[in-house]
Symmetry: C2
Subunit: 418 residues, 2 copies
C-alpha cells in the first residue's frame, strides 16, 4: 500500500520551523511495511490544501494529513476538506458533549470557536473518542484519509495507537519490516563501511545503512520479509555478523544512549563515580544526570574552570600546573585521582583541555584534550586532538570519557592497556 | 512571485533523515520576499519526480529542486527531468573539461559514471561555473527551474550566492522582508499574546507571530514593504512598542542565547561567578561554558549530587540537611553563599531540587526546585514547582537561575525584591 503525508502550517512553508510530523509519520509507516511516496508541506491556504488533497486521492492508496484542525480562524483544514470532498459540515454530537464537559470543568463558556471543533465533514469518524484531542478519518472512494492534529505529541500518539493499527488491518499481503540500530563510537565511517561489506549480498532482503550522528555512527539494519518470524531471524543473523566484526566499538542499540549504558553497568556492579571536569564545563555531569536514578552512582562533579579551583578543590600541586600546565596528562591524572580519593568513590574521571576558539598554542592547539581515569588499582591519562567547534570539542571530550567508563566496566584489562 | 521547493531522496520519504534543505530554502526565499507555496519531499523514483515537476510547472512561478544529481545509479533526477521536459540529454563541454582536470589532478581515470555528470537536458545552464559542484537551471515556458545538489552545504551555498540573486533580478516589483526575533522568558504565551494585541492593526504590513521554544517564547516581527528603509523603520517601530509593553521579560534578540547575554553582562561589569548545582547536574555550567571566553567570569561549578558532597564541598551544616532537607530554600541559601565565599567570586548561584521521575513526596513533589543567589550584600532563595520530564525540569531550573543573573545585573533592586 502506497501512502502519502500532507503537513499543513504557515510556519513550515516560511521555513520558520522545520517539519517533524511528516518525518515521524514517514518513519513509522515505513517500519510498519507501508511505502511512503511523499511528504507535502503546505501553508494554511485553501487552494494549496485542496490541490494537495486532490493529488493524494488520485495517486495514493491512503493519506495522512496533519495540522490546521484547531479552533482559531487560521485553522481552515476541516472546512477545505468538506468543500473539496463535497461533504457538508455536520455537527458531531460526541465531540460537542466532550467539549461541553471539558469546558464546564474549567468553568469556561463555549464560544463559536469551540463549536467549530465539533463540525466535521459528513461521513467522518472521530479517531480517538476517549481523549480530548481532535482527529478524524474519512473513507473517500474507498481510500482512507486520516486528519490529525498538528501538535507533535498528539499527532504521534494518534498515529501509533490508532492510524497504523487501522491501516495494518486493511492490508491483505503484509510486508514485515524489522529494524535494529547499532550505535558505534570510536571508528571512522569508512572503516565501519568496510567491516560491514558483503553482508547485504549474503543475506537477501537485508539493507544496511550508516547514519553519522556526531559523535557516533549508527548502523541501521533493515529487513523486509513476508513472514514476521523469518524477518526477525534474518535481522538477528545480520546483527550477529556485524557485532562479531565490530566488537566493542558497538556501545548500544536502538534508543540507548551511552550515558544510559554506563549507568546500567555502574548500577549492576554497585560502583560509584566522581568527576572533575574543566573544558567540558559540566557537560559530563549533565549527561550522566539525564538518566533517572543517577544519584545512585554519581556522588559529585566539580567543574574546575580556574587554576585556583584546581588547586583548592582537587589539590593539584602548583608545581604540576606550572611545569606541565593545566592542560596536560599529569594534571588529568591528579584530577582523576584526587576527585576519587576525596569523594571516596570507586571511580574518578577527569577531562582538561582547550575547547577554543581561542586559547590554543603551537604546542597545545585548540582541541587538545586530556582524559583521565582513576581506580584503586591504577590512574591513567591520555591526550587527544579533537577538531571542530567549541561545542563539538566539548561533545567529543565528554563522549570519550564516558566511553572509557564503558570499556573499563566491560573489559578488566582496559586500564592497563595504556 | 510564488515558488515551490522539491526535495528528492529515499532516506527522506522513509523518515530516516528529516529534511533540512527544503526548510532552509523556504526560509531564505521568504526572507528575500518570495512566497513559498509548498515543500514536496519525494523519493528517488521516476514517477514521483515527474509528477512533482509537472505540478510545480503548472502552478508556480519558479521551482527549486534538490537532490539526485550525483554520479551513482540511484541518482536519476537529471534523466527524469530531461524526459519530463522533453529535452534530450546533451553533453556539456564545460563540465566535462572541469571533470577531466579535477580527476586528472587526483590521478583518477574517468568512468561512465563521471561522464553522466556532464549530461544535462538541452537548454540547461550550469549555475556555478567556478566550483566543482553540479547544479543547473532551465527556463522552461518562461519559468525558472533550479536543480541543486542534495548535499546541504553545497545547496545552501548555491542558493544564497546564485539562485536568490538571480530570482531577485527577475522581480519587477520587489518586496522587502525584514524580520526580528525577540526572546522572552518568564511570561505565558497567552499573556504575551495579550500584551502584543493591536500592533498588527496599527501598523500595516506587520506580522507578529509567537513561537514556543521551550523554555522560551520567541516573538517574530515580520515586515513586508516596497522599500527597504521603510520596512526597516516599521520594524523598529513595532519592536519599540513590544519592548515597552514586555519590559525586562525580553532577554535577547535574534540568535542571542540567555547564556550569551549574561556572559556579556558579567564581562562588561567585570564580575565573576561560581555555581553549586544539584538536580541540574552540570547543565548550568555546561550552558555557561558554551560561550567562548567564559573562563573570564566562571571560576568553578560544583555538582553536589550527594548529601555528603554538599557537606564536604559547601559546608552545608548537617542540621540544615536534617531539619529542612537538601531540597529547601535554606539549603539553597547555604549553597549559594558558601560557593561564593569559598571561591572568592562576586556571585554565587545554587540550584537544588527533584528532577524526577522518582524521589518526590507529598510535601515536595517532583519538580520542586529551589534557586539561590548570593552577593556580598544579600543571599536569597526561592522555591519553584516545575512540571514535565526530567530534562524539562533540569532545563527550566537552569534557565531560571540564568535569568536571575540577568535580572540582577540589569536591575539593582532585583535581589531585594524577594
Amino acid at each position: 500500500m502506497r501512502g502519502e503525508i500532507i503537513v499543513i502550517g504557515n510556519e513550515l512553508v516560511s521555513g520558520k520551523v522545520s517539519d517533524i510530523n511528516g518525518c515521524y509519520a514517514a518513519r513509522r509507516l515505513t517500519l510498519a511495511g507501508f511505502y511512503v511516496t511523499g511528504i507535502t508541506v503546505i501553508g494554511d491556504e485553501a487552494s494549496s490544501i485542496e490541490s494537495a488533497l486532490r493529488c493524494a486521492i488520485a495517486r495514493s492508496d491512503f493519506a495522512i494529513i496533519t495540522g490546521g484542525l484547531g479552533p482559531t480562524s487560521d485553522d481552515i483544514t476541516t472546512e477545505v476538506i468538506a468543500k473539496t470532498l463535497e461533504r457538508p459540515l455536520v455537527q458531531n454530537a460526541d465531540i460537542l458533549s466532550r467539549l461541553e464537559s471539558c469546558l464546564g470543568d474549567r468553568g469556561v463558556v463555549m464560544t463559536s470557536e469551540h463549536q467549530k471543533l465539533a463540525l466535521l465533514p459528513q461521513g467522518a469518524e472521530v479517531i480517538d473518542p476517549v481523549h480530548h484531542v481532535c482527529g478524524f478519518f474519512i473513507i473517500h472512494h474507498e481510500k482512507p484519509l486520516f486528519f490529525l492534529p498538528g501538535v507533535p505529541e498528539q499527532m504521534k500518539d494518534m498515529l501509533d495507537s490508532h492510524v497504523i493499527p487501522g491501516l495494518l488491518d486493511k492490508m491483505s499481503h503484509r510486508t514485515y519490516v524489522k529494524e535494529r540500530v547499532l550505535k558505534v563510537f570510536g571508528l571512522e565511517e569508512t572503516k565501519i563501511n568496510q567491516l560491514c561489506q558483503g553482508i547485504e549480498k549474503d543475506q537477501e532482503g537485508i539493507t544496511i545503512s550508516f547514519l553519522p550522528r556526531f559523535p557516533e555512527t549508527h548502523i541501521v539494519i533493515t529487513v523486509r520479509g513476508k513472514q514476521a518470524q523469518q524477518a526477525q531471524d534474518e535481522l538477528g543473523k545480520a546483527e550477529e555478523t556485524i557485532r562479531k566484526r565490530l566488537g566493542n566499538y558497538i556501545f548500544g542499540q536502538n534508543d540507548q544512549t551511552l550515558e544510559e549504558v554506563i549507568g546500567h553497568l555502574l548500577r549492576s556492579r554497585k560502583l560509584t563515580l566522581a568527576i572533575a571536569e574543566s573544558c567540558t564545563g559540566g557537560l559530563i555531569g549533565h549527561r550522566i544526570t539525564n538518566i533517572p536514578g543517577s544519584s545512585d552512582y554519581l556522588d559529585r562533579d566539580v567543574v574546575v574552570y580556574s587554576n585556583r579551583s584546581k588547586e583548592e578543590l582537587l589539590k593539584v600541586p602548583r608545581k604540576v600546573l606550572e611545569d606541565y600546565g593545566a592542560v596536560s596528562g599529569e594534571c588529568a591524572e591528579w584530577m582523576a585521582k584526587n576527585i576519587r580519593i576525596s569523594s571516596g568513590t570507586d571511580l574518578g574521571l577527569s577531562v582538561t583541555g582547550i575547547a577554543g576558539p581561542t586559547g590554543g598554542t603551537n604546542q597545545k592547539p585548540v582541541g587538545t584534550v586530556f582524559v583521565g581515569m582513576s581506580t584503586s588499582k591504577a590512574t591513567v591519562a591520555k591526550g587527544f586532538k579533537f577538531s571542530g567547534s567549541r561545542e563539538s570539542i566539548k561533545t567529543m571530550a565528554s563522549q570519550t570519557v564516558l566511553d572509557w567508563v564503558r570499556r573499563y566496566l566491560t573489559d578488566d584489562t582496559f586500564l592497563f592497556s595504556y
